[in-house]
């Protein structure tokens, strides 16, 4: 006798899905469609006049050399931030996974920076590396290093990358640690008995078994650098000097908020949305094949 329960109510599954669907619609699809609609309009800051102008916002956008420069800056910035924050967090997690004294307090300290708001993190780093006041800028000066993030684009980029990486390490650390702890010890011990050294065990056993976590974090980190870092950039460099730290999302923020150009800003966020959707799709299509669940 078949004992499975059958629900004949056709409506029930949809009913159960409704809360999730409403949230998705209200918080994702509705704002996204608003942005799309706004990108075809020209509006003043107060919303007193609004005019449909078709693709003009996009044409203006793609005619700006600064926009392509911001794209390039974004590539540099996101590669550095995602690469460094994942790499450093993995290193810390493997160390914390060992049998250490006071391991739990060490882990707690590692998680703290995640509770710091992006703009606050930016201000912290700004003060540490302020050419005149900074506690960390002074030693650089004694070494005769001309530290000047106000005029040197590379110095400014280094500063925002440091702040953004520092902020993200805790999050990545947490997931890597959980991933490491779920790898069965017996597999690693078997490798050790077979004579594999710690490094070899890491690359042939731990790293592949960790790949689902790594993949998840890669996606999350890319989204983080693309959308969540404008607070840091605004507090540290304001996009300068000479646009050296103006990323795509910072430009959306600056044009929309400081510039009051809602249409142009909306057009940029639509482009940004397409880029991130495409990137995520690529990640799922190609990178995920290498993931071993």
């Amino acid at each position: 006798m078949e004992k499975s329960v059958v629900f004949n109510n056709k409506l029930l599954p949809y009913l159960l899905l409704v809360p999730q669907l409403i949230i998705t619609f209200v918080f994702f699809y509705w704002p996204a469609s608003q942005a799309l609609w706004q990108s075809f309009l020209r509006e003043d800051a107060f919303g007193l006049s609004s005019e449909f102008i078709g693709l003009e916002n996009y044409q203006t956008l793609f005619a700006q050399p600064e926009y392509y420069k911001a794209m390039l800056t974004t590539v540099v910035f996101s590669t550095l931030v995602a690469g460094l924050s994942l790499g450093i967090a993995l290193l810390f997690a493997t160390q914390a996974d060992k049998n250490l004294k006071a391991a739990s307090s060490y882990k707690t300290f590692m998680i703290w920076p995640y509770a710091v708001a992006p703009a606050v993190a930016g201000v912290l780093w700004l003060f540490m590396f302020h050419p005149t006041l900074g506690t960390l800028a002074q030693p650089l000066r004694w070494l005769n290093f001309d530290w000047n993030p106000l005029l040197n684009g590379n110095h400014a980029m280094a500063l925002v990358v440091m702040a953004a990486v520092w902020k993200q390490i805790s999050y990545n650390f947490l997931f890597f640690l959980a991933g490491l702890q779920s790898i069965p010890k017996s597999v690693l011990e078997a490798g050790a008995i077979d004579g594999a050294g710690p490094l070899r065990r890491f690359w042939t056993i731990t790293f592949p078994l960790l790949s689902p976590t790594t993949f998840f974090l890669l996606v999350v980190n890319i989204v983080y650098v693309f959308f969540d870092t404008f607070g840091i950039i605004d507090a540290v460099t304001g996009g300068g000097p000479a646009g050296a730290t103006t990323t795509l999302v910072y430009k959306v923020f600056a044009d929309g908020r400081t510039g009051g150009d809602l249409g142009g800003s909306a057009a940029q966020s639509v482009v940004l949305m397409i880029i991130v959707i495409a990137l995520t799709a690529v990640q799922f299509r190609y990178v995920e094949r290498k993931v071993q669940y």
């Binding site: 800051a45 007193l48 005029l151 684009g153 304001g238 510039g259 009051g260 150009d261 142009g264």
Partner: protein
């Protein structure tokens, strides 16, 4: 049944009670961006006004930086609950005045409310910035300042500079001497790079920043600050940046501490820096008028103001407007203005308050607060020095700064940078013109 009647009756009673409080006090929201000691001044002004009468209650609320406050006000307007009074910095003026339906012009407000109001009682150098070309005052000046040159007298003496420099060549010489005397990282510098080197610089030399009286006479204004004089000045800065005789200090005023810490002995920034300088500088300091190039005929002209004004938002009830008008009359009171000026370092907005302070001998022992007033009233303002009014000015300043930074970092020549700043700025002005119709 009885219970239902009872609850109905209570609900009704509660509604009536809520709708008619014992004293009909009209509340007026005032959003501002004042921090520290200036925040206390705002709260005290509101408290004094509230104590002076019983019909209206001004409620001040701090909303963050100038840009934050303006954005909060715009968002609130779009949501249909704008404050009555909003403090907007000088560069937001064009955006506010182009929003015809969103604001209530001050001259109109005073007329409708029947409050005594004479636009001529106010200092023209200040009200010019906030008035139409016909002279109708659109917003009420609150905290005004101008740019001055701050001087560390102790360090100048040590470096062997006998006189406070008056011209740019003298400033460059003094900076070189300061550098030789140990100020290796900064001979002189400025905060607000574009305010100093484009906006004030142009007005002080009586050359246009843009056509149409720097935008005061129309949104179809075209930028023009890529003249040989501007190029020469920027080139001087580029040359001096190389060995840090001049050292760039950023787009805003975060770096004012370079003066207070003694690092930069000559520093151009707002006259509103006075309160902070008093608190932090442990040396003998003073302020002097901005330097000029002596070979430019007519220089120095007069400086232009910075700071913020109070805008009255549209769509409120007549009674509320009456309250706002009374509050503005309260603020204009001569004694109150004179006291405000002497305590905060902000400029007095009425002629009477300036005269009163002068007559009291205040400047004899406190010359620093008078420097910006001397600059503003140095000569009768011209088309080039009345003020400026560009749409998107906040972002425009960022754009100009970007180009100046590129020049100072050696990526562009002075001419290339200023040409790019002008053409990119013009593109932005044209976009604004389309939305401001």
């Amino acid at each position: 049944m009885a219970l239902r009647d009872f609850s109905l009756a209570t609900a009704l009673a509660a509604t009536v009670a809520l709708a008619s409080p014992a004293h009909a006090v009209t509340e007026l929201q005032w959003w501002h961006a004042m921090t520290g000691g200036n925040n206390d001044i705002v709260n005290k002004l509101a408290a004094d006004f509230n104590a002076s009468q019983s019909d209206y209650k001004v409620i001040p609320t701090f909303k963050g930086t100038y840009a934050d406050t303006m954005n909060a006000g715009i968002a609130a307007f779009r949501a249909g609950n704008a404050p009555h009074i909003m403090q907007v910095f000088e560069v937001g003026t064009a955006t506010m005045m182009s929003a015809t339906g969103a604001i209530k012009p001050v001259y109109q407000l005073m007329k409708d409310a029947g409050e005594p109001f004479d636009a001529k009682a106010y200092l023209p150098a200040i009200t010019g910035y906030y008035s139409t070309s016909k002279g109708d005052m659109l917003s009420f000046p609150f905290n005004s300042s101008s740019m001055v040159m701050w001087i560390n007298k102790d360090e100048l003496k040590k470096a062997g500079v006998a006189e406070i420099p008056k011209t740019w060549p003298e400033v460059f010489d003094a900076a070189k001497k300061l550098k030789a005397a140990g100020h290796t990282t900064c001979g002189f510098s400025t905060a607000w790079v574009t305010w100093a080197n484009i906006e004030q610089f142009s007005a002080w030399h009586n050359v246009p920043i843009a056509s149409k009286a720097n935008g005061l006479d129309g949104f179809d204004t075209v930028l023009a600050f890529n003249t040989p004089l501007h190029v020469k000045h920027l080139q001087n800065l580029i040359d001096l940046q190389k060995d840090k005789t001049y050292d760039y200090s950023g787009r805003e005023n975060k770096s004012e501490s370079r003066f207070g810490s003694g690092e930069c002995a000559i520093f151009l920034t707002s006259s509103g820096y006075y309160a902070t300088a008093k608190g932090t500088a442990k040396f003998d300091f003073t302020s002097a008028p901005m330097p000029y190039y002596p070979d430019v005929t007519g220089a120095p002209q007069n400086s232009i103001i910075g700071g913020a004004s109070l805008w009255v938002m549209g769509g409120k009830k007549p009674d509320e407007y009456k309250g706002v008008a009374k509050f503005f009359t309260f603020l204009s009171d001569t004694d109150r203005q004179a006291k405000l000026h002497q305590e905060s370092g902000y400029l007095p907005i009425t002629k009477a308050a300036y005269e009163k302070t002068k007559a009291s001998g205040f400047y004899g022992s406190n010359p620093i607060p008078e420097t910006p007033l001397k600059e503003l009233t140095n000569k009768e303002p011209t088309e080039n020095s009345r003020g400026l009014r560009f749409g998107n000015m906040v972002q425009m300043r960022d754009l100009w700064s970007e180009e100046i930074e590129a020049a100072l970092a050696g990526q562009k020549s002075a001419k290339e940078a200023l040409d790019a700043a002008v053409s990119r700025g013009n593109a932005m002005l044209r976009t604004f013109e389309k939305t401001a119709k």
